[in-house]
């Protein structure tokens, strides 16, 4: 198929940036979206133009590196996947596709479609851990039984890949789903209960400091989340926060 691409180009953090139009031809429907971008980049290099910078790594939907806003949606029109798992069969011959970086003031653009997600790192550093020494001298793994129900819920929350689609798709650029996922993972496990109060307070404080917007429960994050993390986790975060502060 043949496609028209409108892609955000920005030389660096200081550059204003603009949309640039490109044409690609003979795209196979079995290609992944990023393979289509590879084809475009190969052709740009051949023409002595600068290829389009975009983040990607594992290309199997788990590292959370890829981050494109495609036709106004984080990770494109398909559900439950990252951009690298999006296939061109989702598009039709002759389509125009808008490709932009994930946008939020807390995610400044580094170049073209690459954004800086260090804000997420700082939130994790503020409390996204259980303070246990890595000595291996902990108690036996089976000494605390954990109900399968809670273990499964914890796993669901823990499957967050930190890609930032929640922020990108939220009209308020809120990072609540990301923070909620980490807080929930630990809140649901006995090991995490010890530091639960400090954890939720510190992580929320850091989240606010980074300049993310406020959650208004639109639910966009849950729909766009490649791992389908539920906004029930946000309710749990609210609850944990209230419990920690009252």
């Amino acid at each position: 198929m043949n496609l028209t691409l409108k892609i955000w180009r920005q030389k660096g953090p200081q550059d204003k940036g603009r949309m640039v139009e490109y044409k690609v031809t003979d795209i196979s429907e079995h290609m992944s979206f990023l393979e289509m971008m590879d084809v475009l980049n190969e052709s740009l290099v051949a023409k002595d133009e600068e290829p389009i910078a975009f983040d990607h790594d594992c290309r199997e939907g788990i590292c959370g590196m890829c981050s494109l806003q495609i036709n106004g949606e984080a990770h494109g029109p398909d559900r439950g996947i990252t951009t690298c798992q999006l296939h061109m069969r989702m598009f039709k011959d002759g389509d125009t596709i808008y490709i932009e970086p994930f946008r939020a003031n807390a995610f400044p653009v580094i170049k073209d479609l690459v954004v800086d997600r260090m804000a997420f790192e700082r939130i994790q550093q503020a409390g996204g851990y259980i303070s246990v020494n890595t000595s291996g001298n902990t108690q036996d793994a089976n000494s605390i039984p954990i109900s399968k129900h809670n273990a499964d819920l914890s796993m669901d929350a823990a499957s967050c890949i930190g890609c930032g689609a929640c922020v990108a798709s939220c009209k308020n650029s809120s990072a609540m789903l990301f923070v909620a996922a980490k807080v929930s993972q630990f809140a649901l496990l006995p090991q995490g209960k010890v530091e639960a109060k400090d954890r939720v307070k510190n992580m929320v404080f850091q989240m606010d400091l980074e300049g993310f917007g406020n959650c208004t429960n639109t639910g966009a994050c849950e729909i766009e989340c490649p791992k389908g993390i539920s906004i029930e986790n946000i309710a749990r975060l609210n609850r944990e926060y209230l419990a920690a502060t009252i």
Binding site: P51, D55, M65, R117, T134, P145, A158, Q191
Partner: protein, 667 residues
């Protein structure tokens, strides 16, 4: 000339590690904070090492080429992690895990290292649970296990199909705790481009800030390389796009010997290739072989019809299917080790029985498992005369619970529903058992330079068992290196800060800058990927699943030609001092082009078939690998002397005192 000293401690194998730890030199806590350690790579091995070293009190600088340690490719490991906990009560023990690993590795790994690995495996699970890793549990609230290829017990702990992710996030959280305390200084989006040696010891690195392009100098008392394997030498592999061998190769060129490069694992269950544009291959976890049955049509005409899409797999009657693993290996069936399964699939496809348009795919069928689970569920739920539809529905739900994310991933890529029609799979490069040679302390042949995780060679011999990579990465990082590094650093407490203005740093920085400048100024005719794909093609065709003398000799010549062409005609756009992904790739491919040659040379030199290394000249009468323990029960350790072709071979003889050398049989 350096002689290889593996520093294996004396004593019976069961006590080696304990006795060794008792006598090892330690660094006093007050001195630790004056000692800097650089850790390159923040996957399971690097991340857990960085966190533990920081916790012990060392000042750690950690480097990752991605924007966060959480993105390292350990995250993609799906199936699980082994540990000899014997929670299932099925007769597991440290010895059995040790035995399975050595046997699975086709008797080409170092006994002492493997035993230590088995010994600390249980600690890993305890540690991870304490960190909040949400492993799968049964209804009683206790940890669940499943079985993996090549073993007869269930010892694999898992977190859905995302075990690697959860373990990495555990190590990452331990790192975050130390980053917040200032004990780890984290350098994201930085790539190590060379190691700096002063007086023969590793004392620092040269790194490029990938955002600004700035070349930086970092000094330390010891350097730890934890940068994973070199599977991307094949271009197409299950590795991440950025996975590279640059750190490992650069230290090789600075004096660290490289061991067994030809031991590469081709994983049997990957999604087949669909076209030339393909950028990577996607793995389907080995755990699928617990429930999936692998088959191809028994009749050639059926296979042809399927290849031309005239026939669907479900139309082929049971008696016309060839469940070739069950046929050839009745004892282990679909759960034979990876190398065996991969070769068997290749053998069928080469004979024309492949099941997709390219003829390079076999079926992985869940219909039997769905039926079995469905019947079981119907019984549990008290449905007596359940219809076939109901049984299928119930069975599919069980399969979804176990492998839901894998099935979804498959469907997104192939656009077929694997609950209804069998999956198509084909082997793909997955893991490299070979790597930088290390001694029992995990130190390379360069003093103060360590190598852990997939990047080293030590534990998996010629073939790695499923769910053992995560185990090794975490064992090295959490429980081995933090002890053994103290033995070396104990002599460094009076050294003081290492200065970065020495001539050694000047020289290393100069050579790094020279290479980068060359790429930008070369203005050649072909992109980096063009060369990488060419290299990959040669590697796959001639140094792939089956190798022979003629092919390997050709491969060496061809790789040399590609390399020559690369250095003449490569084209890298953009400039030095900016975010430049093509420039990053150029350096990595340059290193692969050298490593690939050493790889082929090693494969040529190893005149036997063992594990992942299969030489067509060395087969038994029924087509199985034929090992040569008289001449090749050694680690091939290569010393760099200026060119891969001129590398000098050293041999570390492997001694098997606790396990009898036997022909590996899974029949």
């Amino acid at each position: 000339m350096t002689t290889l000293n593996s520093r294996i401690p004396e004593g019976p194998i069961k006590d080696k590690w304990t006795l060794y730890k008792d006598k090892i030199n330690l660094v006093n806590p007050a001195n630790k904070r004056n000692i800097d350690i650089i850790v390159i790579g923040t996957g399971l091995a690097g991340g857990s090492a960085a966190a533990t070293l920081a916790e012990l009190g060392y000042s750690v600088k950690a480097f990752a080429y991605q924007d966060s340690p959480r993105r390292a490719h350990s995250i993609a490991a799906q199936g699980g992690i082994n540990a000899s906990k014997n929670y299932m009560g099925d007769g597991d023990s440290n010895y059995r895990l040790f035995y399975d690993t050595v046997k699975g590795g086709d008797y080409r790994s170092r006994e002492a290292n493997v035993y230590r690995l088995a010994e600390v495996s249980g600690n890993i699970i305890d540690q991870c649970v304490a960190q909040g890793v949400p492993f799968a549990r049964d209804y009683g609230g206790l940890l669940d296990n499943r079985s993996f290829g090549g073993v007869l017990v269930s010892r694999t702990f898992y977190a859905k199909g995302q075990t690697g992710q959860q373990l990495l996030l555990g190590a990452y959280s331990a790192m975050n705790r130390q980053i917040a305390r200032g004990k780890i200084e984290m350098f994201n989006r930085h790539e190590m481009l060379d190691v700096v040696k002063i007086d023969g010891k590793a004392r620092g690195i040269i790194a490029r800030n990938l955002v600004t392009g700035e070349i930086e100098r970092h000094s330390a008392h010891a350097v730890v390389i934890a940068t994973g394997g070199y599977g991307n030498v094949y271009f197409l592999s299950t590795n991440a796009m950025g996975s590279n061998a640059t750190a490992a190769w650069k230290i090789h060129k600075k004096g660290a010997f490289f061991a067994n490069p030809c031991f590469t694992q081709i994983h049997p269950t990957c999604i087949p290739r669909s076209g030339d544009y393909q950028s990577k291959l996607t793995l389907m976890s080995e755990s699928l072989r617990n429930d999936g049955r692998i088959w191809v049509p028994a009749k050639l005409e059926d296979a042809k019809a399927i290849q031309q899409k005239k026939l669907k797999p479900i139309q082929i009657a049971e008696e016309n299917r060839d469940y070739f693993l069950e046929r050839r290996y009745p004892a282990f069936g679909n759960l034979v080790p990876r190398d065996v399964a991969s070769r068997a699939a290749k053998e069928r496809c080469d004979a024309g029985f492949g099941v997709n348009a390219t003829g390079e795919a076999v079926y992985l069928d869940f219909a039997a498992a769905i039926k079995r689970y469905g019947t079981e569920q119907a019984k549990i739920k008290g449905i007596h005369d359940a219809s076939i539809e109901k049984i299928t529905e119930l069975g599919a739900a069980v399969i979804e619970e176990k492998y839901g994310n894998l099935f979804q991933m498959y469907e997104k890529i192939i656009d077929e529903n694997p609950y209804k029609t069998p999956m198509m799979i084909y082997p793909a490069t997955h893991y490299t058992m070979g790597g930088v040679w290390v001694d029992y302390n995990l130190m390379t042949t360069v003093p103060g330079l360590y190598c852990i995780g997939e990047a080293n060679f030590s534990d998996h011999g010629a073939n790695r068992l499923g769910a053992s990579a995560l185990m090794q990465g975490l064992a090295d990082g959490y429980f081995v290196l933090p002890y053994t590094i103290g033995d070396y650093l104990a002599d460094d407490i009076r050294t003081g800060k290492i200065k970065t203005d020495s001539p050694e740093f000047d020289e290393a920085e100069e050579s790094v800058k020279k290479q980068l400048k060359f790429f930008i100024e070369n203005k050649g005719t072909h992109t980096v990927d063009y060369y990488h794909k060419r290299l990959g093609q040669v590697m796959w065709d001639k140094v792939g699943m089956a190798r022979n003398e003629k092919g390997l000799k050709e491969a060496i010549v061809e790789i040399q030609e590609i390399r020559e062409d690369f250095w003449k005609n490569v084209k890298v756009p953009g400039s030095l001092n900016e975010f430049n992904q093509e420039l990053e790739k150029a350096g990595r491919v340059a290193d692969f082009l050298e490593l690939g040659e050493l790889f082929a040379k090693d494969a040529l030199e190893r005149e036997e078939s063992c594990g992942g290394h299969f030489r067509e000249e060395h087969v038994t009468e029924d087509g199985e690998a034929k090992r040569d323990d008289v001449n090749f029960a050694h680690v091939s350790v290569w010393e760099y002397t200026g060119k891969p072709s001129e590398a000098i071979l050293h041999k570390e003889q492997l001694e098997f005192k606790d396990i009898e050398l036997k022909t590996r049989s899974y029949k």
